[in-house]
């Protein structure tokens, strides 16, 4: 009996020891902001509109030769639970060629081109005529797993970065500037709020040309998903990595740390139960009468 209890305790301790070890393994199975783009060469282009925005992989940098006054667009994918930060450093044209202070601004938009608030980072900065560079940044709110359609909360999908010279002397427009952009993400799907929420399709806008149906024509929306003949994936902006699906995906919402906490809790409760029972039977840790039968 005692030996059984010890074996139980050892098993439970093992399970407890595994708990923290298993937890990260669970999160690794789901899409995470892994620095997959770290090895990629920095992007050397920037788009000039939402439609033509240059797509950056997670962790990929951009280093672009631009002109003062250009409107530069990049797009990056973000998945639920992430908190993304965009950092921009602009190396300004030589001070000798500039005439007045200039203000640079970085703005973030979601896949629906809705302006997203920054929780940190100077979103704009004004450079005096003699400064060599200016650093700005923006930290998004944490991406939520679900939000009501009427809200403007950040959701998984494409995010657009727009870098603008919001204020400059006209004489300074067109001068060469060098832009460095860096997007980092922290956090993963386990932190996503609200828990159990799911956006059926990420906010990834189509980029293919649309097709107009004649007003009043029946079956106008016959196949809205197959519009304009663009194949899936070709007519879309930057999309976050799809979570892997398994055979058990439909049975429950998937592995997450809650399973390990709950299972661990159950094991602990069972152990405590056995322990409590043993305690009442042998209050002082001694056996009243040696039973040959219970010994195994």
């Amino acid at each position: 009996m005692m030996r059984t209890a010890i074996r139980f305790t050892a098993g439970a301790l093992l399970a407890l020891g595994l708990l923290p070890a298993l937890a990260p393994a669970a999160s690794a199975a789901s899409p995470s902001p892994s620095p997959s783009g770290k090895g990629l060469a920095p992007a050397t282009t920037a788009g000039t509109s939402f439609l033509t925005a240059t797509t950056l992989a997670a962790g990929q940098e951009a280093s672009v030769a631009a002109s003062t006054g250009d409107y530069l667009y990049w797009a990056f994918p973000a998945s639920e639970g992430q908190t993304d930060t965009v950092q921009v450093t602009v190396t300004l044209p030589p001070a000798a060629e500039r005439h007045a202070p200039q203000t640079w601004t970085v703005e973030l938009f979601d896949g629906l081109r809705r302006r997203q608030s920054c929780t940190a980072g100077p979103q704009n900065a004004t450079a005096a005529p003699n400064t060599a560079s200016v650093s700005i940044g923006c930290t998004l709110r944490q991406i939520r797993s679900w939000a009501e359609p009427w809200s403007g909360d950040p959701l998984p999908g494409t995010y657009y970065v727009r870098l603008t010279t919001t204020d400059a002397d006209q004489q300074d427009l067109g001068l060469a500037a060098q832009v460095q952009l860096h997007v980092t993400a922290k956090g993963g799907p386990n932190d996503a709020q609200p828990e159990g929420g799911e956006l059926k399709a990420p906010l990834v806008p189509p980029v293919n040309a649309g097709s107009t149906a004649a007003p009043g024509a029946s079956g106008a929306s016959g196949a809205p998903t197959a519009a304009a003949g663009a194949g899936p994936g070709t007519g879309r902006a930057a999309a976050p990595v799809e979570p892997k699906t398994h055979w058990y995906s439909d049975l429950f919402s998937g592995w997450n740390t809650r399973w390990f906490w709950t299972l661990g809790g159950g094991a602990l409760a069972a152990l405590a139960g056995v322990g409590g029972y043993t305690l009442t039977r042998h209050p002082h840790g001694r056996r009243p009468t040696p039973h040959p039968g219970s010994h195994h």
């Binding site: 629906l112 009427w150 006209q170 106008a220």
Partner: protein, 438 residues
Amino acid sequence: MTTMRRRRLQVRRPLGLLAALAISAGALLSGLPAHADETTPASSDAPRVDLILDVSGSMRTADLDGKSRISVAQQSIDEVIDALPSETDFGIRTLGATYPGNDKSIGCKDTQQLFPIGKTNKVEAKTAVATLRPTGWTPIGLALRGAAQDLGTGQTTRRVVLITDGEDDCAPPDPCDVARELAAQGTHLVVDTLGLAHDDKTRQQLLCIANATGGTYTDVRTQDQLTGKVNQLVKESGDTYRITPAKTSGTDKCETAPVLNPGVYSDREKFAEHRVYRVPVKPGQELRASVSVSMDRAVARDYGVLLQATDPTGQELVRGTDAGSGRTDVASTGVRWSASGASATPAKGAGAAGAAGDQAVCLVVSNSFAPQPGVAADPGLPLELTVDVAAASPAPDGPAAGLGRGWVLLLVLTGAGLLTGLVFGWVARWRIAVWREN
């Protein structure tokens, strides 16, 4: 789309090679490459770039790194031609290259196609550029029209790279008006301007042309900058030329509004105008729409854009809005909407939408831009509309299957287990005691 095409080419090439090897003994060899060419996309599908080079008299000025403007431009174009991507259709047009006289009426018609747009013979193109000598006037407006003609019409974006050192001395037509007129024709033309001179008038004119067509303006100070920028523009046009919105025309009423399928659309909206579009949304679907209104001309400091989704009777469902002030290119906003619950409005707008069960949602786009004095109101501001319909996402039920997390949970469960064990133990002891007594 580009990647798809590339992949197809990659597949085709090895296949063609294999076939060629198999029949290499035969005399049919010459026929095969021709066949391969036939299956590649037509040249009209290639990215098209037309370079307009100013060869007016002022290009003689030597103020760029001690070299004359024309020699800097010529050397840069040489390097650009060398680095030209093989799929790009490239052409060169000149202005002010032939007429050295003083007669304005003749000098202002002086623009020719130096090298037609197509697959470039690099040697010929470079020779043609090398023979240019700074000569005449600067008819930029006319050259832009010519370039638009050279590029032709089509579904893809075409790009004009304008290298000049001076303001147009031939207006009318004013080059900025020409640019706006070309943009309004919906021909997907983007004009990028590069200025070799640094005076205010030139800058203002080139900025105006670039703004009107969604292009960029660069003030060239060194030869490297010029080469790098033109290379960048050519490469960019190859990457993005297929991304073009479909042209549509919104109306002022929901009943007559065009019905839009998912995709990207372009339209024009005047100051204070409302434009209405219709999107059929099935039950269980979510409408996603976004709109951008571009400022292609001088507008008042503060501005805003509003996108309203209404039902066919005009009841507002959701609105998206954005406002701002200061220098920017577009003001944009978006909305999401899905019917709240299946029973809420079943097939309310079925008649208008056509198919049964669909609800027609009207998208009303309005803006609060104001023109600066003297700015033309016509054609309207460029408007870009993105429409998508996706599966609706119902409200979540709560955390995964009622599972818990955290140290408090462990403590509670362990405590409960311990308590249960103790109770059972005591009960067992009590029963034994009772049994012994009996």
